[in-house]
């Protein structure tokens, strides 16, 4: 890639953990702060930018590529809340083709179309499908496409597991010019131990939490209206949570190469937390972190 335009941020995490909601709210908050933002959904589900666009249809890059040989940016983008340019990479129908290669092809096409040179964004956010299931989904963190990656996780073990997998991918690509980890976004914080558990995980892996997003009724409500919290409830506490996250991403450039746990280490770590949670539930009082 030639000269880079704007900061390119990739956001990963287990499916259903709230990546798209988090990414869209960060995009909205950055736009609200006056920045020019592009959000690219890298998921065959192609619903990353829905709440930025009020739920309107947007043809995906790959669908358009399939139907017409020449694709223009106008065909595959829509301007959403606060002027955020929304793009969905799209993918094949389930069970057919190779979605990973699709992400690769879509990102390549956007580069060929000089999207970044012409639009001159301050921020480009890549919202990438759940887990790093194959090489294709690691494209945004390879080859210096994104500068930093953020991982969204809850305190559920499977979400932590997916985060740890992403750490493995970053660990692999970062030394050869791939993205480094900007930090962990702790989402859906509800259980009393959730913060401590995620904090401990980041400590174990040499990473840090950049923001805690509490589980919130406002988010659910805004989503049902097809909007981000920034748009639907700009004065809510939740909106400030996202604004703080956006500010962090804007102001902090620090990044690390994480040290993922290997299989047995991760299981062992999880087991210790199983015991701790049990003790909390049964009322054993110790010098617990934030409980």
């Amino acid at each position: 890639m030639s000269e880079k335009h704007g900061k390119h941020i990739a956001i990963y995490g287990k499916g259903g953990i709230g990546k798209s909601t988090t990414t869209s709210n960060i995009s909205a908050a950055l736009a609200e702060a006056g920045y020019k933002v592009i959000q690219i959904g890298c998921d065959p589900k192609s619903d990353s930018t829905t709440i930025l666009r009020g739920g309107n249809d947007l043809p995906t890059v790959l669908d358009t590529l399939r139907e017409q040989s020449k694709v223009k940016i106008e065909d595959v983008s829509a301007v959403g809340f606060g002027g955020v340019l929304c793009i969905e990479a799209g993918g094949p129908v389930p069970g057919v083709g190779c979605a990973g290669r699709g992400i690769n092809a879509a990102v390549e096409l956007l580069q060929e179309l000089n999207l970044f040179e012409e639009y001159k964004p301050d921020f480009v956010l890549y919202d990438v499908l759940g887990d790093v299931v194959c090489g294709g989904f690691a494209v945004p963190i390879r080859d210096g496409i994104a500068d930093r990656a953020f991982v969204v996780t809850s305190s559920d073990f499977m979400a932590i597991f997916a985060a740890n997998n992403l750490f493995k991918a970053i660990n692999k690509y970062a030394p050869s010019g791939g993205a480094r980890l900007g930090g962990v976004i702790a989402n859906s914080i509800q259980a009393p131990y959730a913060k401590s558990l995620i904090d401990d995980f980041t400590q174990q892996t040499g990473t840090s939490v950049v923001g805690y997003v509490p589980r919130s009724f406002t988010v659910a409500q805004s989503e049902l209206f097809g909007q981000t919290v920034i748009e639907a409830a700009p004065k809510s506490e939740q909106a400030d949570v996202y604004r703080n996250l956006a500010r962090f991403i804007d102001e902090h450039q620090d990044s690390v190469i994480p040290h993922p746990l290997n299989g047995p280490e991760l299981k062992k770590w999880a087991r210790t937390w199983g015991d701790r949670i049990f003790e909390v539930e049964t009322g054993v009082v110790q010098k617990m972190e934030s409980i």
């Binding site: 790959l62 590529l65 399939r66 993918g91 094949p92 129908v93 057919v96 083709g97 190779c98 979605a99 290669r101 699709g102 092809a105």
Partner: protein, 432 residues
Amino acid sequence: MAHHIEGSRNSCALHGALQVIEAIEGVVPVIHSTAGCGVQHFLGVNRLNAGSDRFGGPPVSNSNISEKHVVFGGSSRLREQLKNTVKIVEGDLYVIVTGCSTEMVGDDIPAMTKEGRDQDFQVIYANTPGFRGDVHQGYQLAVKALIEQLPALGKGEQSSVEGLVNIWGIVPHQDPFWAGNLEEIGRLLEGIGLKPNLLFGYDQGLSSWNRVPNAALNIVVSVWGDSPAMLLEERYGTPVLKLEGLPVGSAAGRFLQTVSDRLNLDLTHTENFIKSEEKRLNTYLASLADTYYRAGFQREFAFVGESSQVAGLSEFLTGTLGLIPRTLIITDNPPEYAREALLSRLTGLVEGYSTEVVFSEDHAEIIDQVRSGAAELVLGSALEEQVALALGVPFLQLSFPLSDKVVLSRGYSGYRGAAALLEDLGSAILSN
């Protein structure tokens, strides 16, 4: 441990499958892969063998998939390609063979095959991505597909054919003399009253393949014939006879005797046939005697080739002709279980003499071995020509790839093959 391979002579599974299909009359391959797979087959295999097959060049049907088909799946492209192929190329059977990209994507080939059959196309498929293995693996995969799927097309012959014998393990083109070798083995089996089912080459079409389940015996010439023979034993209970390489000269006689024993044939008839064949070969050997001594045929030799060739031909060269096996290099990567048997057989070919037996497909290693062995005669492929020149010794090309001869029906198996080998070897020595 991982190691690099320089100048391998083993192509990929897709090409092995194509070599199988192209060697059967009336069978049309349809490649489902990127364009390069077909071209590579032409450049890497057919051009290196004198005489290319019917579809061995650019005319081979290929779905030539592009990125669009990788992302969204290439099944519809294959459907279209199959329909067009059936219109343009006349055939008794169409075989879809897949390459790496379409297998990575996971295109549903069985469903496309079924669709073709629903439209009354005679079509089967073989999953043959190059990453599954080399050319020998491709031979096994294609043969397995034919054995397993042909009966479902409902064209199998139900009536049994008495004395029918299938021959497995000769990989078309990977053995440059495959056609001649098969024909000679067939001629010998006919000589003892059997009906050989050669399966590849002249006049070998679908009817030969439909007869496969009815055979009384499956003869396995190389380790690559093991899997089809085992499959047929499982399915139809057909007994198996494994050879220790191509039967050349008197080994052919022993082979015929074993077959006779196994099938309870008239032993006197077999012995008489062997006697007449031996007599003929011995006459030629006697005619050669003068030249043999004058030109000093008895030399230490290096042989680079496939396991069945090296094992079969070396035994004749040492046992009958009195040559000395210095370095034997086996290039077809036989499985572990077969290596031990080959080692113990080949290291002791000449009593009291230690033969170096090496398994390698790395050209650099092969050249080093041949050079350090300092043999007085080199038998191998075109790739060994330079080292033979450097050693200043006679050189005979007889394993894949060949560059200096046209091979149509010539072969080195059996009795006639033994005589052909004498001619070619003698010519190589005399012209040096």
